[in-house]
Amino acid sequence: MVATRNVTPKDGDALVMVGTMKGAFLFRSNASRARWERGGPYFPGSAVYAMAYDGRAGRQRLWAAPESFHFGAVMRSSDDFGKTWSEEEAGAIRFPEDTGASMKRVWQIAPARAEEPDVLYAGVEPAALFESHDGGKKWSLVRGLWDHPHRPQWQPGGGGMCLHTVLLDPGRRERIHVAISTAGVYRTDDGGRSWRTAHKGVRAQFLPNKHPEFGQCVHKIARHPSRPDRLYLQNHWGLYRTDDAGDSWKDVANGVPSDFGFAMAVHPHDPDTAYIVPLESDEFRCTPEGRLRVYRTRDAGQSWQPLTRGLPQKDALETVLRDALATDGFEKAGVYFGTRSGKLFASRDSGTSWTRITDGLPPVVCVKTATVAKGRGRAK
């Protein structure tokens, strides 16, 4: 068995969490983000589709959802940056008996707002939202979404019937957006009791009716906290923006080589700036023309420019999956993405230039970032 290396992040360090098909990794750097130290693999052999960092209430807690092909997925947390992890039995996410469902995969772990430091959400497959109010010890199904009358008609996408994105409104505590493939975007304004679709204007290119009530194959949604009603959306064909929290969406695929893709992220300090990695098509899910290009808009989607400096521009048939692109919170914004071919790239100038942190990882399925703040002992 491959030996697991550990890292010891310090206050102010940058942390990049990378989940792969065969384990999780941590990359640590100081704030310059020029050199990276690698920790892992954690859970070697297990697919890790969801990771998160919970720095609320003085915690320094990593979350991961390793998944065995045979024995299912579990929730694990670490308060020492991966040196030790919680017991496999702890904090299980289980569907209640009356649902008849069983949990296949955790796609997203979302710590809630700073003011509610013990609340976490998890998006899972089959598509459902779970919540915890005790820091992840116990999880319960959000019934309002599970009981939505559309749910029995939701169809799985290529990645499965997954609730893959959870966005919490920073200002309105009762508002949550979730994205489901293939169902669309659903929004609650009452803390999860009732949900309605929030994808008007998003086309379902792959259906006879291009504007169904639901059934949009939303691959990712992203928002900037300073402007919570603006979201960007990467669809299975289609690139969109809303300025009214999903009540209406506008096509913003202006100047991109393809409006097919998975990943999407927003600049940490500028709600007009977002990033995508276009792929050629749903039949050929690789970067167009063998060029690995991140596209950036700085005007909220009115135009997109390719970012190529430091990225391979020849024979690069790469795929970046829906959760494998992320930005960090540093003043000079970092942008990171991982590929299905196991490469990890980073920019520390908002995407203008890139370096390869590593290659040779298993296929990358999620990339998350954190800035390590000084811990205040162990919160619950």
Binding site: F95, E97, S102, M103
Partner: protein, 97 residues
């Protein structure tokens, strides 16, 4: 009666490293026997069964040389000195076999 369980490598973290676990109990079916295993090592249950109580699709349970998928599932009767082996499927498992 004694029921002997054979535990696969990936689950040894639940049994303190024991490959072989023995339980003394009077049981009639595989389901009852497994309940004894969960009593000893509660964490095993959710790894071998789904939360709905079905054997996970890519896990095989054998009584002696026979897969319980062919012999009545969890209701499969077991006799004295039964040996139950839990084995991850190698096929990738279309149809769970």
């Amino acid at each position: 009666m004694t029921v002997t369980f054979r535990i696969p490598g990936p689950l040894l973290s639940f049994t303190g490293g024991r490959h072989v676990v023995e339980a003394e109990a009077v049981v009639a079916t595989v389901e009852e026997a497994l309940a004894q295993l969960w009593r000893l090592y509660p964490g095993l249950r959710d790894r071998i069964l789904t939360e709905q109580g079905q054997v996970r699709p890519h896990v095989n349970v054998f009584v002696g040389a026979d897969s319980i998928r062919d012999t009545g599932g969890l209701a499969t009767p077991i006799g004295e000195r039964a040996e139950i082996a839990i084995i991850p499927a190698v096929s990738g498992g279309v149809g769970g076999r």
